[in-house]
């Protein structure tokens, strides 16, 4: 079975994000592998360990930070790494990413695509699903377990609105994973040393056999015009003292001031 995992470089969401003039301030920011993609990588590596599978990861983007996350994927156990490095893709949205990934998929003839269910920077959660739709293959999102049935089928569990849904998918298929699916392993020294030696297959759009126009990059469906810092909640009124007194007071405020009861 050939598994393709998609990984994305995102900003470390633990950091404070500052916005100036509608643009995110880059200074001091550091970039890491999208957390949900770590789950995807872990899922792929586990499938490889327990079944006869070959794993490949693909990342779209250039620069040292991107290379770093591919090396992390190697260190976690992914065997092959593809990097689509083309400057025109800098502002790509989910549709463009999906189209690029479609080309990668077709080139490698994979059986299963595993993605994180969303990326920590955009929180869009669309790319994997659009990819499946454009390839005409089945897709299940928010998956919490993957089990191989045979060469052509897998069973997946998904967290839905009514409970846990269990489905059988015909391969090839796309699966986007929830963080509940597994605990991603921490790359260890041995893996990191091996990762340094592995070769990354770097391609631009031309090498991939396509063009910016072809992937819809020249006419994007949406464009971010501005960023704003989110309003954080401020502390309100805090009451200390006799329990009966202050509780009565607060309930009164809830009714009269906040008008919620």
């Amino acid at each position: 079975m050939k598994i393709l995992t998609t990984i994305k470089k995102v900003v470390d969401v633990e950091l404070t994000i500052n916005v100036e003039n509608g643009v995110i301030v880059e200074e001091g920011l550091q970039y890491v592998m999208n957390a949900w993609d770590e789950n995807a990588v872990e899922a792929a590596v586990q499938l490889k360990e327990n079944n006869n599978a070959e794993t490949t990861m693909v990342s779209i983007g250039g620069g040292e930070d991107n290379t770093k996350i591919i090396r992390r994927g190697f260190a976690m156990g992914i065997e092959n790494g593809i990097q689509i490095d083309d400057p025109v893709l800098a502002d790509a949205d989910s549709f463009v990413y999906a189209n690029v990934l479609k080309k990668v998929f077709e080139k490698g003839d994979y059986d299963l695509v595993i993605s994180g269910k969303q990326a920590q920077d955009t929180d869009d959660g669309q790319t994997g699903i659009i990819l499946a739709e454009s390839l005409g293959i089945p897709c299940v999102s928010n998956v919490i377990s993957i089990e191989v049935v045979d060469d052509n089928h897998i069973n997946v569990s998904r967290l839905g609105d009514a409970g846990t849904e269990i489905l059988e998918l015909a391969l090839p298929a796309v699966v986007t994973v929830s963080d509940s699916i597994n605990e991603p392993r921490l790359p260890q020294m041995r893996g990191l040393m091996l990762a340094k030696k592995k070769k990354i297959d770097v391609m631009d759009l031309t090498a991939l056999g396509t063009s910016h126009d072809d992937v819809g990059g020249t006419a994007p469906k949406s464009a971010i015009v501005e960023f704003m810092k989110s309003k954080t909640r401020k502390a309100g009124q805090k009451f200390e003292g006799d329990a009966a007194d202050i509780t009565a007071k607060v309930v009164d405020l809830l009714a009269s001031e906040a008008k919620v009861i």
Binding site: D12, E14, L15, T16, G28, Q30, V32, E183, R185, L186, Q188, M189, R190, L192, M193
Partner: protein
């Protein structure tokens, strides 16, 4: 007596003994290298105090009677060693005397008097020892056949010598010395029997027998003594009594300065080490010879178990069993280990690369097969340790328990990649944001907002760097301690700055859980930052940071003078830069942090401060000072759950509650968290206030 027989017996006994010893020494030599042949004078001093002086037995209030008992047996042995030589001589030549200890010298008389008393004392102590083992049965003790056998043999040695001398006395005094037995009889000092009352007493026990019977007893007791002694000598290397021979060298070779061998700085790029799986200790043949000697020397006394916070709370870390298991594994593999060392040394003689390869292969085939963790020691045992060093502090023969645990953890993490995965969030946090909570590094200096604290990046021309540490930077409770400390420093007019967001976790806990990679990464980055600002002196409120910066970092080229904040505050008080008011009411106790006390020997400075602020004085806990009971957070355990037995912090908190004081002072952010949590769990957080010394000083400062 009978030179031929004596010679045969001696040769036989000593030959067997030498053979055994040669094997034991060969085995040690075949193990890895250790750098202990240095500072000979200092080593001699510690050997005299600890081994010969039996300080940890006699000097420890707990079970002092047992300590004195053992000390007397040991000292008795030392004295009687000379006697044995005389007896061997007697076997060859009648009336054999050692130089200056013969019948013409006062020294000789004094010696036999001493010998006589010691034999009596040792006999009494042996009886007491048997009584303790069989009747009192202290929990820490491990009762085995060997234990009783050795005690009985020592008893036999004493009894046989006393009866031998008793028989001599009878033959000389009662039967007019028909065999012309030699004895001291100097006109100035008198007959030897005036000086040996106990032997004379033994004589009285058999005085009623006939001359022939007494002569027989004389001969039997002589040979019984000699043979028992030689048998005893050969029994020693077989079990825990090997310590009789190895204890003095083991103490002589103990770690000086730093209380135990520092974790080895592993070369993670060393391909061969990866191939041979020799990063950390994974197999028994990877121990170094000093660690091998430690294994030989365990007396199975069980004091380590008694003080171990982990064992006390029902977790599966039984330290002498740990030692025992490793020892057995080593002995089982001794042939191969020795062969391998011999084989490997032939590589030096060879020039042919192919032949070297062959030798290497053959040597590798002799590697001990068992993975230590999993097949000899369980994983739970390995990871239960908090690295508190209580065991090392009480061990009478200075065995270094903790370094081998850390080395095995190194092996588990690097080679087996098998470590408690619950550590991952903390390790990942360290990697990404330089702190185990994984909070954005950009928030590390937020505690200082609006406080007018200098940052190195703005002005590095200061006397001291205040190393805040992760807890002091990110943990809400500990941030208060940091603020208190900065207020004290400002009040005292100290010139200091912080690194702010450039500071990263020292990597202490990563090192203690065997993650050398992460530790070295953090150390490298921090050292570069510190050296960039030419930092020389560092003040810190965290003993773990203190320990890492002062001792671990020097392995990687970072050499700094690191001062704990309690030490520094004490200095400030002495210099008159701050004045303390004795305004704290209600009384106080102090919980010594392991990494401040047992690792860095700072006990008095915190106490001096606390006595100055507490109206009600300082009440000591039962387990205090160098025997302080761990809070449970060390060794990376802060980031792991305790699933077995009782929680260590609860055990300690109960002890504190039992002291009935309203305040407990701590000097470490981990201790602060663990003890405060313990108090909350016991519902005592209102009645007992847990405070860091910095907070107490700030509150009680003029």
């Amino acid at each position: 007596m009978n030179p031929l027989l004596m010679a045969l017996v001696l040769i036989a006994g000593l030959a067997v003994f030498c053979r055994t010893m040669v094997r034991k020494i060969q085995l040690l030599k075949a193990l890895g290298p250790a750098d202990r042949a240095n500072h000979l004078k200092e080593r001699l001093k510690s050997m005299v105090i600890l081994a010969i002086g039996q300080k940890r037995l006699v000097g420890r209030a707990k079970e002092r009677s047992a300590g004195v008992m053992h000390a007397l047996i040991f000292w008795g042995f030392c004295v009687l060693l000379i006697r044995s030589l005389t007896l061997y001589g007697e076997g060859f030549v009648e009336g054999f005397q050692l130089p200056f200890l013969g019948g013409d010298y006062l020294g000789g008389y004094l010696y036999i008097a001493l010998k006589d008393i010691m034999e009596g004392i040792v006999l009494l102590m042996v009886l007491y020892a048997i009584f303790r083992r069989a009747v009192l049965k202290p929990k820490r003790m491990h009762n085995t056949f060997e234990a009783y056998l050795v005690l009985v043999m020592i008893g036999i040695l004493m009894v046989s010598d006393l009866l031998y001398d008793g028989a001599r006395y009878n033959l000389i005094q009662l039967y007019d010395n028909p065999g012309n037995i030699h004895f001291f009889n100097n006109p100035q000092y008198g007959s030897e029997f005036i000086w040996t009352p106990i032997s004379v007493g033994a004589a009285a026990l058999i005085s009623g027998l006939s001359m022939e019977a007494i002569t027989t007893i004389l001969v039997i007791m002589f040979w019984l003594h000699i043979c028992t002694q030689l048998v005893f000598l050969n029994v020693l290397p077989l079990g825990k009594h090997f310590h009789v021979i190895t204890a003095l060298p083991n103490v002589f070779l103990k770690s000086l300065g730093y209380p135990h061998e520092k974790p080895k700085l592993l070369d993670l790029e060393d391909e061969t080490a990866w191939e041979e799986e020799s990063l950390g200790i994974n197999h028994i043949h990877q121990l170094n010879w000093k660690q091998g000697l430690d294994l030989y020397t365990c007396t199975e006394c069980g004091r380590c178990k008694e003080v171990c916070p982990t064992y006390t709370t029902d977790k599966p870390l039984n330290l002498h069993e740990f030692n025992d298991k490793l020892k057995l594994e080593l002995l089982e593999n001794s042939d191969n280990v020795i062969k391998k060392a011999k084989l490997s040394s032939t590589i030096l003689n060879s020039e042919d690369p192919e032949q070297i390869e062959k030798i290497k292969e053959a040597a590798a085939a002799l590697n001990s097969k068992n993975r230590l963790i999993g097949e000899v020691i369980s994983e739970e045992t390995l990871w239960a340790c908090t690295t508190c060093r209580a065991c090392e502090e009480v061990c009478p023969v200075t065995i270094e328990h903790v370094p081998r645990i850390i080395a095995m953890r190194q092996g588990q993490t690097l080679i087996s990649e098998s470590y408690p995965k619950e550590l991952n969030p903390a390790l990942k946090g360290l990697e990404r944001n330089g702190n185990p909570w994984g909070i954005g590094y950009d928030k590390r200096a937020d505690w200082a907002d609006g406080l007018d604290v200098k940052i190195m990046a703005d002005d590095s021309d200061v006397d001291y760097l205040l190393w805040v540490g992760c807890a002091g930077s990110f943990d809400d409770r500990s941030k208060k301690v940091t603020v208190s400390l900065t207020n004290i420093l400002k009040k005292a007019g100290v010139s200091f700055a912080i690194l702010g967001v450039e500071e990263k976790c020292t990597g202490d806990f990563a090192r203690r859980v065997g993650n050398e990679m992460l530790f070295q990464m953090m150390a490298e980055e921090n050292i570069a930052t510190l050296n960039n600002y030419k930092v020389k002196k560092i003040i810190t409120a965290c003993p773990h940071c203190l320990n890492a910066l002062a001792h671990d970092y020097s392995q990687m080229g970072g050499n700094y003078e690191v001062i704990h904040h309690t030490d520094f505050i004490d200095q400030l008080v002495r210099e008159g830069k701050i004045t303390l008011k004795q305004s704290l009411e209600g009384g106080l106790t102090y919980h010594d942090p392991c990494y401040l006390g047992r690792y860095n020997k700072i006990y008095e400075q915190p106490r001096s401060i606390l006595r100055s602020v507490s109206q009600g004085g300082l009440k000591e806990l039962g387990r205090y000072g160098s025997e302080s009971f761990c809070c449970g957070a060390g060794g990376g355990r802060m980031w792991m759950e305790e699933t077995i037995g009782k929680r260590i912090n609860l055990e300690r908190s109960e002890e504190i509650v039992g002291l009935r004081v309203p305040n407990v002072a701590v000097a470490c952010p981990f201790c602060l968290t663990m003890i405060e949590d313990g108090m909350k769990e016991l519902g005592r957080e209102e009645s007992i206030r847990t405070m860091d010394i910095a907070e107490l000083v700030e509150k009680n400062m003029a």
